[in-house]
């Protein structure tokens, strides 16, 4: 078990965010109000966005999100994510993986992929959950189980069909096997997290 203070968790999160043009917004930050307004607006833009955005709007107290923008990514942490230093670090790493995806694909394409393809959404979410699990592994020394992520991935917010959840399970299990062999999963944010926490 590795102790982690809230200040250390924030420093860790800010370091990862700085590597991926992301800005982390705490729930009490005035910017969080603006971000919630964006989500509410998205919920009314099109049927394709309506279900996902409406669910996020409803669950923002428990769900942290990464909003891609042309200037970078805005990471909005939930109140529950900032209540515990370990959870803060794991959640921030998860969201920074989404910021890395935005950097790799561009902000427009990452939205198109995430909204337009449940298959790509499943894969992207599985990578992000795996980064969070890896940070938890680095902090606790306890190898996580796929079920730790699958309960969240199967949650209605992601709107994944059973076959897409199974794809996500395959991706998570592959990453867990890499962790079990003593290596970081092949994810840039995981490597960055390992370097910072080591």
């Amino acid at each position: 078990m590795r102790p982690l203070t809230t200040d250390q968790a924030r420093a860790f999160a800010d370091h990862l965010a700085s590597l991926h043009r992301a800005t982390i917004v705490a729930p009490t930050d005035p910017a969080a109000v603006g971000a919630r307004a964006i989500i509410a607006a998205l919920a009314h833009l099109s049927p394709a966005l309506d279900e996902i955005a409406a669910d996020l709007e409803t669950h923002l107290d428990r769900v942290s999100i990464c909003i891609p923008t042309p200037a970078g990514s805005l990471i909005l942490l939930s109140p529950s994510a900032v209540a515990d230093p370990w959870l803060y670090a794991m959640t921030a790493a998860h969201e920074c993986q989404h910021a890395a995806q935005r950097e790799a694909l561009g902000w427009g394409q990452v939205i198109i992929d995430y909204v337009g393809s449940p298959e790509l959404r499943a894969r992207a979410a599985a990578d992000a959950y795996s980064v969070g699990l890896y940070v938890g592994f680095l902090l606790s020394g306890i190898l996580p189980l796929a079920s730790d992520a699958m309960a969240s991935l199967a949650w209605s917010t992601y709107h994944l069909a059973p076959e897409e959840i199974e794809l996500a399970r395959g991706v998570v299990e592959s990453h867990l096997e890499s962790m079990a062999s003593g290596l970081p999963p092949p994810l840039a944010v995981a490597v960055e997290a390992h370097a910072w926490l080591s």
């Binding site: 607006a41 998205l42 833009l45 099109s46 394709a48 966005l49 890395a100 995806q101 790799a104 694909l105 427009g108 394409q109 939205i111 198109i112 992929d113 909204v115 337009g116 393809s117 298959e119 790509l120 894969r123 599985a126 990578d127 795996s130 076959e163 897409e164 199974e166 794809l167 395959g170 991706v171 299990e173 592959s174 990453h175 096997e177 890499s178 062999s181 003593g182 290596l183 970081p184 999963p185 092949p186 994810l187 840039a188 995981a190 490597v191």
Partner: protein, 72 residues
Amino acid sequence: MRLTLLALLLAGCPRLPPVSGCSPMAQTCIGDAPHVCSASQRWQRAGDLACAAVGGVCSVLEGRAYCATAHD
């Protein structure tokens, strides 16, 4: 903003990998990276780095593709 988003959505489609005919949920190594076969029979990459970037090599053990240390 509505028009911007509409234009964005019309400008492109999701970039899915090509259909390969793989068996759904099968795993393999492609280009030193683990891949998982989707229900639409596309190889979806697990991760965004090659295994060499984390000091390993992609291996398949009991149907599971992952990054293994060199001596695994």
